[in-house]
Assembly symmetry: C2
Homo-oligomer: 241 residues x 2
């Protein structure tokens, strides 16, 4: 009994993976807007109606791909942080920040279509469900975690906040405190600076992945590494003492 159920479950997992793989291939070839359940079904050798046993709708398939992509960058960021712990001095928070940034960029360059799916233009007619929020925040959580550690070790000096931005800064800090584990609490100045750095980091990545650096930047790895380092310093992370 259990073996049959186990085999069924295994088959279901395999077929689900095959469907998603084919969908990812179509993402690369035609873009998210043209992702079609029928074409995916044809390619995996199923009839379109059979696909609905795995994904109730085209949007659900899209959601699965989006969650997978967010999880993949998130995992890359988390892995980079874990790896860099061994390679950096405990007080070198800036080095870990840049290591995570570089990992995000490396993943994006290696998976441009999945990157476009999550950080590019919204897919027309698709609105992301709540399920994507968790995976979507993994990268930010890693960065916030680094800042939290630096804060505890007095390794960060957040920049001053203009008076006009003060309410927004406090709102964002309160939001973090509400959604995140207490270890990730940040003072308002650091919380806003973090959000700004976060979006600027992805600005660098998007310009490279989307081709805006063509004919402009050649040594993109060095360019990015320098910019990420400056972003970390800008947020207040102190260089290694």
């Amino acid at each position: 009994m259990t073996s049959v159920q186990g085999a069924r479950a295994r088959a279901r997992i395999e077929i689900t993976a095959a469907i998603k793989d084919e969908a990812r291939a179509q993402l690369a070839a035609e873009g998210a807007a043209k992702l079609s359940l029928r074409a995916v079904a044809r390619e995996v050798g199923m009839v379109s109606s059979a696909l609905y046993r795995y994904f109730p709708s085209r949007d659900d398939l899209l959601t699965a791909l989006i969650i997978d992509a967010y999880d993949a960058v998130g995992a890359a960021a988390e892995q980079a942080l874990a790896d860099s712990r061994a390679a950096t001095a405990p007080d070198d928070h800036l080095a870990r920040w840049t290591a995570v940034c570089r990992a995000v960029r490396a993943w994006a360059v290696a998976h441009p279509h999945e990157y476009a799916l999550i950080y590019g233009s919204p897919v027309p007619g698709y609105s992301a469900p709540q399920d994507t929020i968790g995976p979507a925040s993994r990268v930010a959580l890693v960065l916030i975690g680094i800042l939290g550690e630096a804060l505890a070790a007095e390794g960060v000096a957040p920049p001053p906040v203009p008076a006009a931005l003060r309410p927004e800064a406090e709102r964002i800090a309160a939001e973090f405190a509400r959604d995140l584990p207490p270890a990730h609490d940040l003072p308002p100045a650091l919380a806003v600076a973090m959000v700004a750095a976060w979006s600027q980091l992805f600005g660098l990545v998007s310009f490279e992945v989307f081709g805006q650096f063509n004919r402009v930047v050649e040594d993109r790895e060095t360019f990015f590494a320098t910019a990420a380092d400056r972003l970390g310093r800008e947020i207040g992370l102190l260089a290694r003492s």
Copy 2:
């Protein structure tokens, strides 16, 4: 004779505009990937083959929309610079920098679909021709112009360049010198810093326009203004003396 030609030319301009307007409407509704010549023709009351008198192919229509969009942001940036000249002290280069940044953001927020067309995910199967390069650089040219002025007035202190980035910085500066009028020459340190700030600026805009700030940033105008100001300072623009 001339009146006939004038009438023809006028009609041609009007019809071309109507086609592009309808195409823009479809861009908003279905996305660039699904832009269809037939649907545009149907909507403007023509038969699809007649469209080929105005645009030799679907890609040429797309190219026209892309150029229009680049020209629109570019014009907004140029206008913002011209306007801010009257409103700012001659030595306040930073104020003009932020004015231009805010104008770019305002245009993007007002025209999200056209923004997505030029700064979002690349359109699958479409590759931009050379004609887009000029319009695409207008915003960057405005920013470079501000830096050039600041440089001439000793109003900018570019950040140091790490040794590893030095060759790339010099390459970029040489590229600027080759492509741009001499008034826009920048030293290597300022040229790389400019490119980094440029991409980070659009990172802020893209995150807002593409919805990444949902549930994160509320007062987006203030948030952006502060970040743009910090970007200008980061690049070395000095606050007003």
